[in-house]
Symmetry: C2
Subunit: 344 residues, 2 copies
């Protein structure tokens, strides 16, 4: 029965394949009687029509899990689509597993490994600062995708794909400095974040220094920990505080586009404008940065390339073609309406 095809059904019904297809797809050019007869035969024989279903057939033992921290972050949406496509193309099954912000992704991975007999894992988003001994509990290959890794890790012990968060952050702040801005606020991760947040903050600091500027701690703001990370709401709430602090600034670098959108909203509500009163820049290259009013200057990450390379490396690890690999993609400074020279 498992190997039954649409041709078998057509034969049993005494009709052509096209007619069966029409019945299955609820096509108007078939009589109700014929359709009912065909669907009855299909049902009795437990025939599963349609290629999409056949494509889904997978060996339960060949599964890749993608563990994602921050599923509501639109940055990951396009990546998830690419992961799924690439994993299915390799004839592996795909599990998407959310990890809560307060969950430990390694614990989740270890548990999934046992339960689903995984062949590989992609960690997507979040920070990564686990004890080395804990990482070693993972017995299957894994790749960190768009996760900054703390410097103390030995690069031989893991694989990663991302942009250079330090360099790209530097690029943005260097650009703001070249526009003449001297008082540049940053909205970043909490100061105990040791990966992406730290790297982007370090890039900010270095760019200021190279322009002869010092970091003013009163212009360094961290996301709220009780609000979703990198979200519009977080950007909004923190920028309200920045504005209320009374500290002068002329530009704001938010380390995600969603944060930048929230920041703009807070500025508008205070009766000020972007970019007239404040230049605002984001990071990521989300669609909304283009569609927002004003459109938002950002660093566009090549998300599809990052996702494809992640899967490529994961399968190289699975097939033992490599023991570890690190790939860094360049990102692009996209200048839009939200940033202008200080004195026009």
């Amino acid at each position: 029965m498992a190997s039954m095809t649409i041709i078998d059904i057509a034969k049993m019904c005494g009709v052509g394949v096209t007619t069966v297809s029409r019945a299955i797809n609820n096509h108007p050019d078939i009589s109700e009687e014929t359709k009912a007869m065909i669907m009855k035969v299909i049902k009795e024989n437990h025939y599963v029509p349609n290629n999409s279903a056949r494509n889904l057939k997978r060996s339960a033992s060949k599964t890749i899990a993608v563990l994602i921290k921050g599923i509501t972050n639109p940055f990951f949406n396009r990546m998830i689509q690419v992961f799924e496509k690439e994993i299915q193309r390799k004839k592996y099954s795909f599990i998407l597993q959310r990890v809560d912000e307060n969950q430990d992704e390694i614990d989740v991975a270890i548990e999934l490994e046992k339960e689903k007999r995984l062949k590989g894992i992609v960690f997507l988003g979040g920070n990564f600062s686990h004890a080395k001994e804990k990482l070693e509990q993972l017995t299957v290959p894994f790749v960190l995708s768009t996760i900054g890794m703390a410097a103390e890790y030995d690069p031989h012990e893991y694989s990663s794909v991302s942009v250079d968060d330090f360099k790209e952050s530097y690029k943005m702040v260097d650009y703001l400095c070249k526009l003449g801005h001297r008082q540049i606020a940053i909205l970043t991760a909490s100061m105990d974040d040791v990966s992406i947040g730290k790297l982007r903050y370090e890039g900010y600091k270095k760019a200021l220094e190279d322009h002869g500027l010092q970091v003013n701690d009163k212009l360094v703001f961290s996301m709220k920990e009780d609000i979703e990370s990198y979200s519009m709401e977080n950007g909004y709430v923190v920028t309200k505080e920045l504005l209320a602090s009374g500290e002068d600034f002329t530009a704001l670098f938010a380390v995600s586009d969603s944060l930048a959108v929230g920041a703009c909203k807070a500025i508008f509500e205070s009766g000020k404008s972007v970019p007239g009163d404040y230049s605002v820049a984001g990071f990521d290259g989300l669609d909304i940065a283009y569609y927002y009013n004003p459109s938002i200057t950002t660093i566009r990450q090549p998300v599809e390339e990052i996702a494809e390379e992640t899967i490529k490396i994961l399968f190289d690890l699975i097939h033992k073609k490599t023991t570890h690999a690190h790939k860094t993609f360049p990102a692009e400074l996209v200048v839009r309406e939200s940033t202008v020279p200080l004195f026009r």
Copy 2:
């Protein structure tokens, strides 16, 4: 070994439970030597620490699948979080399965049912216009969540949770008419969509009629089928066409907030303003409708209540407390900056 606890590890190491916890969580207040010793014991004993991991433990045979059409639609993000929480609270396992726009969700469901021995299914998003005989191939309980159902279905044969798409759409267009608008364009689903798109279009039509207006077909625009449904890009491209058509209008009702954002962008690029030249309204109540500039008038769907009720009904079906149930939640007209009276 499976029942090993943190207390066992602490005993084996000759330290307190707090110390073990510190080692696991990479806490600074523990010496490197002690930590290394504890992690070694943990590793040798294959102990899986942390509650988050224990919460993940699930019986493989008690699984609920959520099949989602349009995973990049931010409308679903919050719902997915609620589904996962509620399903885990019932001690069931949770599978999130994407369905491509061109895939048949019933085929995917039938295949998953076999492979994962599901106990129940939630269909999230998309249209629903399958042959009755095909629906009957599903042997486990299922609930349609935020899916408009074609009128020809017998409500005894399925369960659903959603807003009343006809009524809520009527509410928005009635509001625009009361602002004095007479030439109201709509950006909706394709005309062969028989569920949400049709219902929202019908609500639009009825509201116009009740204000003594006729539908002008030249102001009815469908989303592009080759661009992601309900997306900003789709709203942008279609509104460009609307503007290029030269047909006069003063208000635009886009049937999702993302479409409305894209519509605003197209209007700005044409040198016109919102709401000065055109009032624009959306639907859904996404965060971005609030954070956009101008903020966008919308119909806010109670997504958390819808998600919770979906799971409640699904478990009522699983436990045979009911054979079918339909719940419709009221949504809220949220008036913001993007809509104004025609002649101020």
